[in-house]
C-alpha cells in the first residue's frame, strides 16, 4: 500500500527519475525524504507580529511614494520634492502663491458670466471636443515627450506657439526645438475631462494657417567651389575593350512601392514610423534596424504636415541627417540635410531627390554595349568628390546619394555615389 511518504515523494521527485537508475533513485529519494521531513524553522512569534506591524506602518509612506511614482517623469518628481520635501525652500512661497491665485480666480469668476465648461469662448473656433475629434494625428514616433514644456516662442516668433495647455505633452524634435502636439498615449497624458473641467481647453491655441517647420530657421544655400568631376564607370568587359558612352541614362526603381492613400488597409497612419519608413522606401531608402528615424507632425488649416528626420546607422554613425518635409497623405515637399559644421556652415541645406540627382549627373560609362542602369537602393552618406574650378582640382566632402543597382545587359552590380546637394 502506498504510504503518504511515497505519495509526497512521487509528487516531488517524479521529474528526476529520468536522471537516475532505479536503485540510485531509491537512495536519492530517501535523502529527499529526509529533507522533506526535516521540519520547518520556527520564527519567534514576536518577530513575526512586530514585522507585520512595522510593515503596515510603512503603508502611508508607500502610498505617497506610489502616488508620486505615477508621475514617472523625473522633472515632475523633482518638482514635487522641491515643493513638499522636508528640505523644500519653496514650500511657504508656493503656499502663498497658490492661496493668492485661488482668491484671484474666485474673484474673476464671480464677476463673469460662465461659459459651459470646456467650451471655447470664440464662436468661430470649434469646441475642444470637436477639435480633438477632428484631429487623429497625434502620434509621432519616436520623439521624446516631456510634459508641460513651453515652446521657444521668442525664437519662433509665433504667437500661436506661445500658448499651450498646462501639462500638455511636448514633442522634442531631433534639433531640440519643441513642437506642441495634442494629447496622446504616453506617460504625461492628462485626461480630457480634467482639462475640460479645469477650463484649460479654453486656452488651446488656434490651428495655424500654414505649417512652420522646425528646420526653417536655419536654412542655408550651398555654394560649390567648382564643378563636380565624376570618375567614369566601367561595366562588364575588361577595361581595354570598352567604349565610353556619355550621358548614360540611369533610373531609380526602388524594389517596393507603397501606396500612401489608396485603400485603407494598405495605408499606414500618417506620421507613424511605418508611414515614414514607407515614404523613405518609395524613394529608395531602406530603413534598417539601428537607423535613427524621428517624425514630428503638425496640423494646419492647409492640411497635416510631417517632418521626417532620418539618419542611417543611428546618431553616432557619422552619416548625415536627412530631413523630408511631407504633406498628408504622402507628398514630399522637400529634401534637406543637416550640416553640423564639419564640412560647411552649420544649418539645413536643400537637397535634390535621389531621382533628380541621377538625372542631374552626366555619367560616362565604359561598356561594350550601350548600358542600361537601374538602381534600387540608396544610402545617404558623406562622400569625397573632385571639384574643378577651371584652374585647379580639389577634393571636397559632400552629402551624397550612394546608389546600388545593376546594369541590365551584363547583369553587373553597379555602385555609384553622386552629390545630393541642390544648387
Amino acid at each position: 500500500m502506498e504510504t503518504e511518504k511515497d505519495k509526497i515523494l512521487e509528487e516531488l521527485y517524479l521529474p528526476l527519475e529520468d536522471l537516475a537508475s532505479g536503485e540510485e533513485t531509491d537512495k536519492l529519494k530517501e535523502i529527499a525524504w529526509h529533507l522533506v521531513d526535516m521540519g520547518k524553522a520556527e520564527p519567534s512569534s514576536s518577530f513575526q507580529s512586530e514585522l507585520r506591524d512595522s510593515l503596515l506602518r510603512e503603508v502611508p509612506q508607500l502610498q505617497a511614494a506610489v502616488w508620486s511614482d505615477k508621475f514617472t517623469n523625473k522633472w515632475l518628481k523633482q518638482f514635487y520634492r522641491d515643493l513638499w520635501g522636508p528640505t523644500s525652500r519653496f514650500r511657504s512661497s508656493f503656499a502663498f502663491i497658490a492661496a493668492t491665485l485661488i482668491i484671484v480666480v474666485m474673484a474673476v469668476f464671480s464677476h463673469q458670466p460662465a461659459d459651459p465648461p470646456g467650451r471655447v469662448a470664440d464662436p468661430q473656433r470649434p469646441a475642444y471636443e470637436e477639435q480633438t475629434a477632428q484631429r487623429g494625428i497625434h502620434s509621432a514616433t519616436p520623439g521624446k515627450i516631456s510634459p508641460g514644456k513651453k515652446p521657444d516662442s521668442e525664437e519662433t516668433g509665433d504667437p500661436a506657439a506661445e500658448e499651450t495647455w498646462p501639462g500638455s505633452p511636448v514633442m522634442e524634435g531631433p534639433m531640440g526645438t519643441p513642437e506642441v502636439v495634442g494629447p496622446q498615449s504616453g506617460e504625461a497624458v492628462f485626461p480630457e475631462e480634467e482639462i475640460l473641467e479645469s477650463g484649460f481647453g479654453q486656452n488651446e491655441p488656434p490651428i495655424p494657417e500654414k505649417p512652420k517647420f522646425q528646420i526653417e530657421g536655419e536654412m542655408r544655400d550651398f555654394h560649390l567651389a567648382g564643378a563636380v568631376i565624376l570618375s567614369p564607370l566601367h561595366v562588364g568587359d575588361t577595361e581595354g575593350e570598352k567604349s565610353p558612352h556619355e550621358n548614360t541614362q540611369a533610373v531609380l526603381r526602388p524594389n517596393s512601392k507603397y501606396a500612401t492613400a489608396t485603400t485603407p488597409e494598405r495605408e499606414a497612419e500618417f506620421g507613424s514610423a511605418t508611414w515614414a519608413a514607407r515614404m523613405l522606401k518609395n524613394e529608395g531608402f531602406e530603413v534598417r534596424s539601428g537607423d535613427n528615424l524621428e517624425i514630428t507632425i503638425q496640423e494646419t488649416l492647409q492640411g497635416n504636415f510631417a517632418e521626417i528626420f532620418y539618419q542611417s546607422g543611428g546618431k553616432g554613425s557619422g552619416h548625415p541627417l536627412m530631413v523630408l518635409l511631407c504633406k498628408e497623405p504622402g507628398t514630399i515637399l522637400g529634401y534637406y540635410y543637416q550640416e553640423k559644421g564639419s564640412y560647411n556652415k552649420a544649418g539645413y541645406y536643400p537637397l535634390m531627390t535621389p531621382a533628380q540627382a541621377l538625372k542631374a549627373q552626366q555619367l560616362t560609362v565604359f561598356s561594350s554595349s550601350r548600358p542600361s542602369l537601374i538602381f534600387t537602393d540608396v544610402r545617404f552618406e558623406f562622400s569625397t568628390f573632385h571639384l574643378d574650378d577651371g584652374r585647379t582640382q580639389q577634393e571636397s566632402v559632400l552629402p551624397a546619394y550612394c546608389f546600388t543597382g545593376r546594369e541590365t545587359i551584363s547583369d553587373s552590380e553597379i555602385k555609384i555615389c553622386l552629390p545630393a546637394i541642390s544648387r
Binding site: 537516475a20 529526509h34 522533506v36 521531513d37 526535516m38 507585520r52 503603508v59 506610489v66
Partner: protein, 191 residues
C-alpha cells in the same frame, strides 16, 4: 476561501491569491494577508540557508519591505506571486553572500529538529541523520542548496524554481539531482 488572522494556517488557490495580490496592489493594507500566508515559508527558506536567527530575521524583514514597496510592479504573467517573493528573498541571500560577511551558525538549530515515531532509539537515529543532512547540505553549492530547499522544503514546482533561480527547468532538475547525489556520496564517506 479560508482566510484567517495572524499565525493561523490557511490555503490560497491561484484565483484567490490573484485577487488578494490585486487588492494589495490597490490598497497596500491588504498586504497583511499575503504576509501572513508567506511569512513562515520565506522565513523557513531563509533560515535554512543562513542558519542564523538574527541574520534570517534581517533578511526576512528586507524581503517583505521590498515586496511591499514593489508590489505595484508585480504582474501576473508566467510567474506566480510565490516565485516573485522567493526571488526577492533569494536576491537578499545572494547580496549577503556577495558581501562575504562571516555568519555564525546557531548552535540551537539542531536541538529543535523534529523526529517521529515512539521508539526512543529510532528517534535518536532520525535525529542524528537529520543533523548530518543539515550539515551536509551546507557543503553544497549555493545553487544546489537553493534548489533542494525550494523543492523539498518549500514544495515549489520545478517551473517556479526555474523562475526564481533564473534557470531553465532542465538546469533545475540537474541541480537537484547533483545536489542529492553529492549528499549521498558525502553520507557514504566520500569526498
Amino acid at each position: 476561501m479560508a482566510v484567517s488572522g495572524l499565525g493561523e494556517v490557511y490555503l490560497l488557490n491561484e484565483d484567490i491569491e490573484q485577487e488578494i495580490v490585486s487588492r494589495a496592489q490597490q490598497t497596500p493594507e491588504s498586504f497583511g494577508l499575503l504576509y501572513d500566508h508567506y511569512f513562515p515559508k520565506i522565513y523557513n527558506y531563509i533560515y535554512h540557508r543562513v542558519r542564523n536567527t538574527q541574520l534570517a530575521e534581517d533578511l526576512v524583514s528586507e524581503t517583505f519591505y521590498k515586496a511591499l514597496a514593489n508590489i505595484q510592479k508585480f504582474r501576473w504573467r508566467e510567474r506566480s506571486f510565490a516565485s516573485w517573493l522567493y526571488t526577492i528573498a533569494r536576491n537578499q541571500l545572494v547580496d549577503t553572500y556577495r558581501k562575504s560577511t562571516p555568519v555564525l551558525l546557531d548552535e540551537s538549530w539542531a536541538e529543535s529538529l523534529p523526529s517521529t515515531g515512539d521508539d526512543p532509539e529510532e528517534k535518536v537515529m532520525q535525529h542524528s541523520v537529520k543533523k548530518e543532512l543539515l550539515l551536509l547540505i551546507r557543503t553544497l553549492s549555493p545553487d544546489q542548496q537553493d534548489a533542494l530547499l525550494l523543492r523539498f522544503q518549500e514544495g515549489l514546482k520545478i517551473k517556479e524554481i526555474a523562475h526564481i533561480m533564473d534557470r531553465n527547468e532542465g538546469a533545475v532538475k540537474a541541480l537537484l539531482f547533483r545536489g542529492l547525489k553529492n549528499m549521498r556520496k558525502k553520507m557514504e564517506g566520500g569526498p
